[in-house]
Symmetry: C2
Subunit: 286 residues, 2 copies
């Protein structure tokens, strides 16, 4: 695999891959006839683990000081601190076919209602998927499959609504480079449940387009999500740039793993947990 393919596949920049090789001696790829790097499948797997550990808060220096086995152990230890998923979720994540997944999700949504479904079902499900990947019992492909069906289901709940003029309206979107849209969707669903009008845009937008869209749609604010794909540094940069371009009348709300690390900015609301959403809504309506 070439350096570009690797970079795309795991979401680490080419520059970073090269400097890791220079500094830490890993990954050291073979070279093809041209002198270009060529990575093995094992190296890809190892880097996935490195990425995961990094997103758990470990720094590259520490991670690369460990052996491959030690890295795996560290990951397992972290996973064991979480609750084990219940059996119903096991089935869903491991055995069900696409249509069975759909059926199960819709049934649970019906039974629990949107808010409880998110807190009591969707979040544990996502956690189970994550844990399953760590253990090696769930393939990335399956993870994608299940979260895709959940995404579609939630999206349907949000798009069919008709906003009333009186309520506050928020525009939910992700910036270019953010592939993870599920977190934003969960947040939007909860805002919706609190009576906020939610306009959801399932596209990765360039920053410069956001101000125009916000004023054209006459929303009261813009909500963004930055997953672990985004480095905290970049999230901060992008938010600063956006806040700068966006008229101060619009609220700006940011959530997701990349903004947990204490970003502070004027006129910016950071949403660290989904549980904060009711409080933010009260603030918005005031």
């Amino acid at each position: 695999m070439t350096i570009q393919q690797l970079s795309k596949e795991i979401g680490i920049s080419i520059d970073t891959l090269r400097i890791w090789e220079r500094r830490y001696g890993f990954p050291i790829p073979t070279r093809n006839a041209r002198g270009h790097r060529s990575y093995s499948g094992d190296q890809v797997d190892e880097l996935r683990i490195v990425k995961k550990l990094q997103s758990l808060g470990h720094r590259p220096g520490k991670i690369f000081a460990l052996s491959s086995a030690e890295r795996r152990e560290l990951l397992t230890v972290a996973a064991e601190q979480e609750l084990p998923p219940n059996q119903a979720l096991q089935q869903l994540t491991k055995e069900f076919s696409p249509s069975q997944i759909d059926e199960e999700l819709r049934e649970q949504l019906q039974k629990l209602g949107l808010v409880s479904f998110i807190h009591q079902y969707a979040l544990p499900l996502l956690q189970a998927l994550d844990q399953g990947w760590t253990e090696g019992s769930i393939s990335i492909a399956r993870e994608h499959l299940v979260s895709d069906r959940l995404e579609q289901l939630l999206r349907e709940q949000l798009v069919t609504e008709q906003p009333t003029k009186s309520q506050k309206q928020l525009l939910f979107l992700t910036l270019s480079g953010e592939r993870h849209k599920l977190g934003l969707l969960l947040a939007a669903a909860l805002f919706h449940a609190e009576g906020i009008g939610c306009i959801l845009l399932n596209q990765e937008l360039p920053i410069s387009e956001v101000p125009q869209l916000a004023s054209e749609l006459q929303v009261d604010g813009v909500a963004l999500s930055f997953s672990f794909h985004y480095s905290t540094r970049q999230a901060k940069n992008d938010l600063a740039r956006l806040r700068n371009q966006l008229d101060p009348q619009f609220k700006l709300i940011a959530g997701g793993q990349a903004v947990q690390g204490g970003i502070q900015m004027q006129n910016l609301i950071i949403c660290t947990t989904l549980k904060q959403i009711p409080r933010i809504c009260r603030k918005l309506s005031a």
Copy 2:
């Protein structure tokens, strides 16, 4: 704007931006205190035009030999060769609110049926959006908005189906880096209309996950789309790698602008127009 932000915003790699500057003398950004490149808003707009001309088949050498005004003219000339959009579409693309767009789309779908809706309504609509952008009468933001609603509508049509065991099944997906999902969706809708079971995955998958997913879902083939975001070179690379990793029993179908330029490979079906789909379906069922 930094080089990274610019690269993300318009989808041209950092390496390419730097070498364009070296070779053609455009864009030449100012430098900040660190000596890092800093691009102006005008340069961003100009590069969007360059990108558009490039996707129309012009080569960088030619494009950069022109003046800014000449570039704009070339773009306008190209746009005028297309049919002017009718008034109904004008309204949709320029005036309607999100919920009005939804309403109109759903009404047209109801009236025309899926296949006619795609050929007689969706495709002209997308063309009108594109043309509007060229003229400057439609913002990129609005373009995103309309295509997002269309995407959601089509997705709903496809996800609600229950596949029967007997029919052929295809897995529709995009690879990491491919943000444009609408083309794939249109294709999937037409395959669906021909009686093919369509499993749609709205995620950008790494190549290495595709073989596993295909065999887990027991589909008969995998269909991919490569929009103008993808260079032909990369599409070719990725397809070769995927064909190599994927068991020969699975068909591989590729479509989109990036594969129009005559990619040929064993065991690969290239779909240059949506009109070819019925023929491909007959081939599949045989």
